[in-house]
């Protein structure tokens, strides 16, 4: 089980789009917790996913207009190890120094 924390602006449908990225892949979503957070909202999800799906989910979540940041509770290095983090995303230096924003 992998935990994800997604920061987003709470505009119409954004939370649904975040959840849909998981449900369209047939993933069960046993845990969802959404709440107001600093400068926006955040949702925490627990998902049973493989490494390839982690990479796909990261990139799909980031493609949603009002998603601000995606983190994984199990360690970012593991999350990003699904190859090719979105090059358009700047990773915090503290998260994973092995992958720059423009791995591309």
């Amino acid at each position: 089980m992998q935990a994800f924390q997604i920061r987003y602006r709470n505009t119409q449908g954004t939370l649904m789009r975040i959840l849909n990225a998981a449900s369209r892949r047939g993933l069960d979503i046993p845990t969802v917790h959404a709440e107001a957070a600093e400068n926006g909202h955040q949702v925490t999800l627990a998902l049973e996913v493989n490494a390839k799906q982690i990479g796909q989910l990261y990139r799909e979540w980031y493609s949603i207009a009002d998603v601000v940041r995606v983190r994984s509770g199990a360690g970012h290095g593991e999350a990003w190890s699904a190859a090719h983090p979105p090059a358009g995303v700047t990773l915090d230096a503290s998260l994973d120094d092995g992958r720059s924003a423009a791995r591309a």
Partner: protein, 584 residues
Amino acid sequence: MPRAAELRGAEIVLQCLRAEGVELMFGYPGGAIMPLYDALDGSGIRHVLTRHEQGAVFAAEGYARVTGEVGVAIATSGPGATNLVTGIADAKMDSVPLVCITGQVRSALIGTDAFQETDVFGVTLSLTKWSRLVRTLDEIPEVIAEGFYWARSGRPGPVVIDIPTDMLKAKKEFSGPVKFTPHARPAEAQADGGFTDTIVAMLQQASKPVVLVGAGAKLSGAIPELRQLLDTLNVPAFATVHGLGAIAPETPYYLGMVGMHGTRAANMALHETDLLLVLGARLDDRVTGDPTRFAPYAKIVHFEIDPAQLDRVRPCDLAVIGNLADTIPAFQAELRKIPTSRKTGETRGTQLPDFSAWRSVACGDERAEFDPRGLAQPTIRFLDELFSRLPKDNVILADVGQHQMWAAQRFRSASPRGFITSGGLGAMGFALPAAVGVQLAKPETCVLCVSGDGGFQMNIQELATVHRLGLPIKLVIIDNKYLGMVRQWQQLFYERNYAETDLSDNPDFVEIAKAYKIHARRLNDEAMREFPVSSETADLIDSFLSSPEPELLVFDCAPEANVFPMVPSGAALSEMLLEDEPTH
């Protein structure tokens, strides 16, 4: 300071659309959207009435695909809105900038299952790039500006704006359209280096590099830069169905279309390459075949504007995120720094198979090899005759099915937006209404619309639109009296069990066209068994194409003609069927 004018919501919507550059939109009126129609007169926007909302959204797509501008479709609530859904899904798959505006029941009735109420926001959530249900009159300008921003930006796509009818009727002071400024997003990667030297190094180590070009090339507008890059690289190159026209077909390195019905040369090159440069293609299953055996020996460099497309089917080794208009010149600049002999094939040896023979097959000189029974030859020759006799300024639309793949295989134009089809979704019924949008966008262009007998009947009502507007679209039906592509699969993979694909009771399309006041004629495939074609047949085709009026030409095709090559679903690209094979 002058007081802002008081306008109805519908008038505000139309003014905001004009501010976004909208001059033409397609739609179908109904209860909830009526206030918008009431305000149309004098808005400066031309509205084209189709005969079905699906016709409207496909027409808007046709307009958007040929111009690169945002297409706009309008529909009412409930069934009007749900009839847009296939077009919205199509726009999502094929990266088409599209804004759909739907009327909704009165705000007070939302959620009550009111007459013609559908949660179109919810229905289309997973199909749209962005969407809004308007809740206050005040937010209309911002919503429209933001919707157009997302439809155009990055990888283009569909947007839905649902407006309750009371918002369209209510009045407020309106000080003018607004501009949308996107919120701060995670930093975008810059295409100013970092990747270029890596790719050049990979190129220099590779012995069999190839280039695959997709729709991103035309969407980026970087066709000249792409062609310059391909000339510099001088390695085998091929295109997806949406990349057709991006590579000039006469260039010696061009191997044609790749994928399920791609050329043998392109598919074999893709199978044997050790370095695949993907420029603006999603790499969907119709291109890759079995993903575990796709380009099995290759490192893959994927140039892509949308990070969400990476690694979906097959992981890449290097991703270059950005618009090809930025990344190709950066790559080209790096290539210019190295000696010519190192960036051409001279130092890589000649380990690739000799493509010259395969290329001639791809170009049709030996096409009979793939059709030993000769069933498809007349249709292929018919398309060749049609395409070769088109005026230079032309656009070809293909619907979905066998004729689509034959047309894609025979397409020989260097026009990047010259071949339009529903590629990702494969929506039958697309071509006829899309041709309406294309012809309205390009009134001086010869628009040739090729459909099958199945797909043509899915939006046949748009013949009325063609007639009403007097659009000189050249309509062709390849009539094999089957759902041909499905029948082909049934023949090859389901032991000829032609379950529910027989359309031998089709109506007489010539008579139907006449009922819509469109001139129509029929050509039998026997006419194409003569080579060269008779002067009578040539004259018929020429007069068909040169008519200033809409025209329909029904081509009677052999019922069991098949499209080859064909990569069976789940097979590797190297496992193409080249002719009918016994079923197992």
